[in-house]
């Protein structure tokens, strides 16, 4: 036992999460792609060539890349000034601003679409890009913000003492130190915009199509699995390429495990002005649609809130039940994602000689972000069709699908932190008599707890707002809040719209609470 115990445990820590990915992601996606790439039992790659040759599909490809690049640039342009002041100043309401900026990330596109349209933004590239900035500003603020707060102000002071002005200090010291975080954030934002679905469909309108919407159309509407498979492969290749580029640019980075440095409050007139200017674009962009939503939910004497407990016509339960379902699903999805994500992060960061395997696993875990929900959903249908694995109609399939989407975030947030732990800390603990599990509990856990809580908050938020997969996946009567909102909006009549707006506002607040709690909870220092 002495010799193989830890090895078996460590093997399980890799095998369980990878097995999860293999069963709930690779297998179904592989099956559906396999069906699309085969004609009469033999591999047929002609559809791939056809995609290349078809000018309209080539245009879709081109547009997908262009809008994703523009959206990423715009997101950074709006997010970085906000991140700068949020990281440099400590001020009352800072947590609230962060929570506010996080909220859009989880709102269902169907709701945001309504808000944007009522502001006159729809049917244009501008609308698409604005919405992408709205949704993704949180990612940039969080990923870059974490790195920025961990920066040692002594380095900037040193640069200034060497005669560098504020601008030179920024470009020569701050920016290079932040580059990995910026690249990481950009790659995630790019990925999201590249595979964006709801925004393109709802705000872009029928004139705009991306690979993702085209896969949806080919799979769900036309059941043309050949073209869909070809497009999925193109999308996967693009996504993997983007991830590899990002990975190569961030591989040499080490995150600091130092606690974030305390920053001063903005006392001078000048720093207050800076603070206001930095926060202005991001907060305006986020507040206006959100505010519009809240105001609309209060229309007609806040009628939307007065029917929360009554079961509306045509619905299996009341909005309150939908809220309960959403919370339950979010809890289960978060537990799965955090448990598997931490296990994987742990396995990936243990010193070992198999760097190659770790790289592949890290990449693998990100892939669910690059595959269309409809592909995964339809894949579930064709693989989980035989007992004992007839999961197609199980309640669990929804939190599992959500966990699949949240897993990359958990791994991405915790791996750099675990990697930054000095291995000698673990070795010291071992020398003092701590077994592998105790080492993890006493050394890794207290340090990774902060990141894990942030990741859990993100996972919960993702689950709360997830809409695409929830709608495509076969499910028994479990209506989550986004689905309930969608149902209300798909019927005529003012009370339906009122209730949709009320639910959207509730979802927004719920998400905000999760974000604030994740941020607050992590401030409490781990004690033994």
């Amino acid at each position: 036992m002495r010799a193989f115990g830890p090895r078996v445990a460590r093997g399980l820590l890799v095998a369980v999460p990878l097995g999860f990915l293999a069963i709930f992601f690779l297998w179904p996606v592989g099956a559906i792609l396999g069906r699309g790439l085969r004609t009469g039992g033999s591999l047929d790659l002609r559809s791939l060539a056809e995609v290349w040759r078809d000018p309209s599909l080539r245009h879709v490809l081109w547009f997908t890349v262009v809008q994703a690049v523009l959206s990423t640039i715009a997101t950074l342009a709006v997010a970085l000034p906000a991140t700068a002041v949020l990281s440099r100043f400590q001020f009352r309401g800072r947590g609230l601003v962060i929570a506010l900026l996080t909220m859009p990330f989880v709102l269902p596109t169907v709701v945001v679409g309504t808000a944007f349209r009522s502001l006159g933004l729809s049917g244009s590239l501008t609308a698409i890009i604005t919405a992408h900035v709205f949704f993704n500003v949180a990612i940039a603020v969080r990923v870059v913000g974490e790195a920025w707060r961990a920066l040692d102000p002594a380095e900037e002071d040193a640069a200034q003492s060497l005669g560098a002005g504020p601008i030179l200090t920024f470009t020569a010291v701050t920016l290079p130190a932040l580059r990995p975080a910026i690249v990481a954030a950009s790659s995630i934002v790019f990925l999201f915009c590249f595979t964006s679905f709801g925004v393109i469909l709802i705000l872009g309108g029928p004139r705009f199509a991306t690979i993702e919407t085209e896969i949806y159309r080919q799979t769900a509407q036309l059941l043309d699995l050949h073209t869909a498979a070809a497009l999925s492969i193109v999308q996967l290749v693009a996504v993997v390429a983007a991830l590899l580029v990002a990975g190569a640019m961030t591989s040499r980075v080490r995150t600091s495990t130092r606690l974030p440095v305390r920053r001063p409050p903005p006392t001078s007139r000048r720093s207050q002005l800076l603070l206001a200017l930095g926060l202005l674009p991001a907060t305006v962009l986020v507040t206006v649609p959100l505010g519009d939503l809240v105001i609309r939910s209060l229309a007609n004497g806040a009628a939307g809130y007065s029917h929360l407990t009554s079961t509306p016509i045509g619905a299996p339960g009341s909005p309150l039940q939908a809220i309960a379902t959403s919370i339950k699903v979010a809890c289960v999805a978060t537990v799965i994602a955090v448990a598997l994500g931490l296990a994987l992060a742990h396995a990936l960061t243990r010193p070992g000689r198999r760097v190659g395997i770790a790289r592949v696993a890290e990449l693998l875990v990100l892939l669910p972000l690059g595959v269309s929900a409809v592909t995964v959903g339809f894949g579930f249908l064709i693989v989980f069709d035989t007992p004992p694995l007839d999961l197609r109609t199980s309640w669990w399939i929804i939190p599992i699908a959500h966990a699949l989407v949240a897993l990359p975030f958990v791994v991405r947030t915790t791996v750099p932190v675990l990697r930054a732990i000095d291995p000698r800390q673990r070795e010291t603990a071992a020398m003092l008599g701590a077994g592998p599990a105790q080492v993890w509990r006493t050394v890794d856990l207290p340090i990774v707890a902060h990141a894990a809580k942030v990741a859990a908050g993100f996972a919960a938020a993702i689950s709360l707002g997830e809409f695409g997969a929830t709608l495509f996946i076969v499910r028994p009567e479990t209506t989550t809040v986004p689905v309930a909102i969608y149902r209300f909006l798909s019927r005529p009549g003012v009370t339906n719209v009122d209730q949709a707006m009320a639910l959207a506002t509730i979802l927004m607040v719920l998400t905000g609470v999760v974000a604030v709690v994740a941020e607050r909870g992590s401030r409490i220092e781990a004690r033994s």
């Binding site: 399980l12 820590l13 369980v16 679409g113 309504t114 349209r117 009522s118 729809s122 049917g123 469909l201 709802i202 309108g205 029928p206 004139r207 159309r217 799979t219 769900a220 509407q221 059941l223 229309a299 007609n300 016509i313 045509g314 619905a315 537990v335 448990a339 598997l340 296990a343 064709i382 069709d385 004992p388 007839d390 999961l391 197609r392 109609t393 199980s394 309640w395 669990w396 077994g435 599990a437 105790q438 509990r441 709608l471 495509f472 996946i473 076969v474 499910r475 028994p476 009567e477 689905v483 149902r487 798909s490 019927r491 005529p492 009549g493 003012v494 009370t495 339906n496 949709a500 707006m501």
Partner: protein, 352 residues
């Protein structure tokens, strides 16, 4: 103690497996006598009605909703070797031939089918049973037209007149079921000249969006909760009564009106899935859908018209809805054959 993490993980895995087994048992176990209904997201029926079915037949009903009508059918086709359930509800006449040619339904002649008008019985082979119908029609915002002293248009041709310029919003037939139905209406009306009609509509400023929700809540000025500015929208004949029913307090006249001469009829079918685990329960459920109990519950649940004539209708329907006497129709075979071509043609004419 030292393996606590591991234990937690294993417990989670075990719970997952148990959950999976538990639910698959309940779907496979005949002791509970549960029949599974596969349908689309718009399906709705009130609980007392479903309880009545269980009381009468001993079968409980489990409902699986899977996206919109097209997605739901495609999922059924994809899983026909190991069906998701026993009954499918919600294939309409625009998708009927796909369902029939993919052979997803078992043949079943439902009790009470004789009572349904011939016009709705589009599958003479008795695989798909008509349950309800509805009409996709252009809706108009009454207030807009009275304020602008404009006459509300009546026909498809009226929509191309210059006084109605920039007033109409339609849905993309590639992604929306009413969008496709409206294109079918124009095909039924203009025959091979339908593309030229769309050219004229485009010249007259028609706007196309992807889904009904965007069109109705986003662009249409007559929607109760909407903020749009176009007073004409492709929606349903049942939308005006819905506007009344879902307003608080309900108005005495409907704020919108459906244009009877622009309608295309959609018929929704149910069928017993081939390879169903519980064919008895499936047949009982299809039969039940044609009973008065079920038929009279549908209008307010799904805003459709019952297929069985003489079913009592709720007051909002009798007061505020009209059933067009002579809607446009096309045979399911024609729709199935030409659908893809129409969509391509429409996309090229209207969007590019």
């Amino acid at each position: 103690m030292s393996r606590r993490t591991l234990v937690v993980l294993l417990t989670a895995a075990a719970a997952l497996a148990l959950g999976a087994c538990g639910s698959s048992n309940s779907s496979g176990g005949s002791a509970t006598k549960t029949v599974t209904l596969v349908t689309h997201d718009s399906f709705a029926i009130s609980k007392p009605v479903m309880r009545a079915f269980t009381r009468q037949t001993g079968w409980k009903v489990r409902i699986l909703k899977n996206g919109d009508a097209g997605v739901a059918l495609n999922q059924v086709i994809l899983t026909k070797n190991a069906p998701l359930g026993d009954v499918m509800f919600g294939v309409d006449n625009t998708f009927l031939t796909r369902a029939l040619s993919e052979n997803v339904f078992a043949r079943y002649r439902a009790a009470g089918i004789e009572a349904i008008p011939r016009a709705l019985r589009l599958d003479p082979t008795n695989h798909a049973t008509p349950i309800d119908f509805g009409d996709v029609c252009v809706n108009a915002d009454r207030k807009y037209f009275s304020e602008h002293h404009l006459e509300i248009p009546k026909t498809l041709d009226d929509l191309t007149q210059s006084q109605y310029r920039d007033l109409l919003v339609v849905e993309n037939p590639a992604t929306s079921s009413p969008g496709l139905a409206f294109v079918a209406a124009t095909v039924a009306r203009f025959g091979t000249a339908w593309p030229q009609y769309w050219d004229r509509l485009r010249a007259n400023g028609v706007k196309a969006v992807d889904g009904w929700e965007q069109a109705y809540n986003g662009e249409f000025s007559g929607a109760g909760g909407g903020k749009g500015d176009r007073p004409l929208v492709v929606s349903y004949a049942s939308s005006p009564p819905a506007e009344v029913y879902f307003a608080d307090p309900p108005p005495t006249t409907a704020p919108t009106v459906s244009l009877d001469d622009t309608c295309f009829r959609q018929v929704e079918f149910a069928g017993v899935l081939r390879g169903a685990a519980h064919p008895d329960g499936a047949r009982a459920l299809v039969d039940f859908m044609l009973t008065r109990r079920f038929q009279s519950d549908m209008p307010l649940q799904m805003f459709v018209n019952p297929a069985v004539p003489g079913t009592p209708l709720p007051a909002v329907f009798t007061k505020f809805a009209t059933i067009p006497a002579d809607p446009f129709t096309l045979s399911p075979a024609r729709i199935g054959h030409d659908r893809a071509g129409w969509i391509d043609e429409w996309t090229a004419r209207v969007l590019r």
